[in-house]
């Protein structure tokens, strides 16, 4: 298993390299550049920016160099652990990314934990009580959850809270260490918003998986031995039904990192999502590259962990 993990880890390198090349290339295909964003601004009126002023700033920022030189320069620094200096903020990228990464990970973890904690019991109960009223309600709930776009749900929650309760989560941000209660107030609603879709999807997968497992012969044998239904379901069925759920949850976590972009904006959470949007608006490709690199690493690591956990849950799985 150790060799397998190492081999998979080594494969990260070409994957990450490809990701950064792709992002870098795409970024320069898009019209507009950091100099234009700085002088002409992200939004609003922009004065009378002249072509000469733009050219002057491009030279100062080194944007007039050939693309491969810019990429090589960025890559060389990144390999030495220097992710560069933001073109917009003029501060080291890592100093910004560090705090935001933790915020986003906290939010995503909270969301996935909420989703899994609710989805698994819901899916299991739905399967056990197949074709009953509970099952129908659960399936309708899941369909709605999958169909509702996350950003729309977020806007709806904000609107409803402001209009009917005259209350919204406090503005600003407090870390869980500084003020746990305030942190919870600020993150619980975005986490629930993000969790809703995942909950619905995971519940459906759990239900399908459970239904399949519950038709297996070994469960009939367990029941024939006289084991109680709770033990049959919890000990024998659920463990085997969890494999697909685990796969889905790993995938969902990676997807969450994409979902947070809009939800963070709606709920004013200063995570990587808002930084990503800003870096695109301001054409700050140094920050963008760093975010993409970090997210890619997280996704690759999660995929690896999910693969490795198969072996723990199912002894039949062997790593060659």
């Amino acid at each position: 298993m150790g060799k397998y993990a190492l081999r998979r880890a080594l494969l990260f390198i070409p994957t990450l390299l490809l990701v950064t090349i792709l992002v870098f290339s795409l970024f320069w295909i898009v019209p507009g550049d950091p100099a234009l964003a700085i002088l002409a601004g992200g939004e609003g009126d922009t004065g009378a920016v002249s072509a000469e002023q733009l050219q002057q700033l491009r030279q100062r920022l080194g944007l007039d160099r050939p693309l491969y030189v810019q990429y090589a320069s960025w890559l060389g620094n990144a390999l030495r652990g220097d992710l560069g200096t933001s073109l917009w903020y003029k501060t080291p990228v890592w100093s910004q990314l560090r705090d935001r990464f933790l915020v986003t990970m906290e939010l995503a973890t909270m969301a996935i934990v909420l989703a899994v904690c609710a989805a698994v019991p819901l899916g299991v109960t739905s399967a056990v009580k197949q074709d009953t009223g509970f099952d129908y309600v659960s399936r309708i709930f899941s369909s709605i959850g999958i169909a509702l776009p996350t950003f729309w749900l977020g806007i709806l929650i904000v609107y409803a809270l402001a209009s009917f309760f005259d209350w919204l989560p406090p503005l600003g941000y407090a870390t869980v260490w500084d003020d746990p209660l305030l942190n919870l107030q600020q993150l619980i609603l975005p986490a629930l918003t993000l969790a809703f879709n995942d909950l619905a999807f995971t519940a459906r997968v759990t239900r399908s998986s459970m239904l399949e497992v519950m038709r297996e012969d070994y469960l009939r044998t367990a029941r024939a031995k006289g084991l109680g239904e709770l033990i049959v379901v919890a000990r024998h069925a659920l463990k085997n039904a969890l494999l697909p759920v685990l796969t889905v949850s790993g995938y969902q976590f990676a997807r969450l990192l994409g979902g947070v972009i809009i939800v963070e904006s709606i709920f004013v959470v200063p995570g990587m999502g808002t930084l990503l949007i800003d870096s695109i608006i301001h054409r700050d490709f140094i920050v963008l590259q760093a975010i993409v690199l970090l997210v890619a690493v997280v996704v690759l690591v999660i995929n690896l962990l999910v693969d490795l956990s198969y072996g723990v849950l199912d002894p039949r799985v062997r790593y060659q």
């Binding site: 019209p31 234009l36 601004g41 992200g42 609003g44 009126d45 000469e52 002023q53 003029k90 695109i280």
Partner: protein, 569 residues
Amino acid sequence: MTRGVLPVAVLLLMTIAVIPRPSAAQTSTPEGQTFTFPWPPDWVARGKYQKMILKGVTGFNPGQWDVHACGTLPDCLMPSSPQFNGLVYHDPVNPDRIVCDLCESWTVSRDGKTYTFRLRQAQWHDGQPVTAEDIKFSLDRIVEPGAIRVRTGVMRAFYEYGAAQVIDDRTVRVPLRFASPLFLENLASEYMKMYPKHVAKGLSPEDAQKPGKLIGSGPWKLKEFKPNISIEYVRNTNYFKKGLPYFDGMSFTIVRDYNRRLAAMQVGQAHTTEGPTIGTYGSEDPMRIQRETKGRVRAVYIPEAVQTYMVLHMNKPPFQDARVRRAVFLAVDRHELTKIVRCAEGFGCFGSIGTFLPNKGGKIIEPPEELAQVKGWRKPKDADLAEAKALMAAAGYPNGFKAMLNLGNVPLVVKSGEVLAEQLRRGLGIDLTIEAVDRATQVDRIMRRTHHASLDSSGVIILDPADYLNQHFLVTSGQKNPDGWQHPKLTELIQAQAKEPDPGKRLRMFKDAVEILRGGESHVVPLSWGFSGGMMDYRLQNFHVPGSEQIVKHFEHVWWDPDAPLPKP
């Protein structure tokens, strides 16, 4: 439309009511005329300091902090301004007037070519005194040759680098290239801030743009800028305008989502929006929040603050042909467009029909009664459309043509584009394909002239129409005149008005300039004027609506009155 404007006009009148006049003394000496501004003016004592933080929301995440170099209002000027003073500025309680800020008086020589400023006793945030040497340094920095000066570069026309003379520690003499009524107006622009020489001199252009690197003498000191979270200021307890500001601190939370900002105001999480006004809120939304909160949130609007216009690109057919440009200019129904885009059912209108120049600083250049007779604005449109069709036929496009329209993905701009496309399809058979993109892409496309036409918007900076003429018709190859369109007579008029001291003659020059532009052959097709809007808690007192969203951005004069009566609906 008049009916719709009424509620907003009433609101504005209520807002600007009971404005005290600052006590400026004017004396005549052999050297010239001296204008003195004793401190404090009478309104200062009416405010009361409160031990509280003024809380605001802003949709912008600033990246530039050197107002001499930067070019944007929300990303640079708004967060920077509270830290600095100008030499002169717009009186915050009577914003049409220019008064002393760091100076206590100025003397204009008899020929109008020299201004002598006498400074107040003021201190920079590090305790060092503000000296005439700092002022000379700042004026030179504003016009520094070769440096990027997006907004302040206009001063190069009036002041030559190195020309200012330090008379003594508190007196500086500023000779001008020529006598101009525009010098003071430009000097009062919020971008013309004064910096301490001992701090700014050692900063590279990149370092100067970092938060907190440049310090000022202003009412607020930057405490901390947390990117994407907040901008926090503390009160300058050593501020030379004793008694100001009226709060312990000021904190703007960065909320990128527009609806979330509205919601924050609605539930009382903030006392004010950024600015407090900006074009982003130039719709019925602030008014709606005012109604929903039963007056707790006050809607504030600056009329005729942002112009939406079409730029016709002349680097390719069909707009290379002046006849086609004129046809489009004539065919646009500005009344219909303004009604659809700027008015909201049950709320009224938040804009007016597009003219070439803003009516600012008491200069009414294109009055509505005159426009009713002018081609392109007159009603009904039949005669204009007939002439436009004839021009299209003469240019070889009797059945119209297909063209690409580049515009920003802002709802109001997209709506303008849709109405415009429908009008041109209906009237001239022009089939416009709309491409809505983000701001950086939009500006890039304007400057590279990739499309046939672009929609853009432009805010009023100084309270004088000359600024508009400069930006759109004198500065060439830039974003506002990408094709470098020029008209010899127009250029002559723009240059002449800058030197004309007689207001009557200047007005005549502006009217002549407009007459040339009404020929419809330039790259600019004005569409509509929009409001700049914002929201404030009703207890926030002493805010007076300025004529431009680019002035009075320092929050030094507003105070909190917990006992203020809730305004009647």
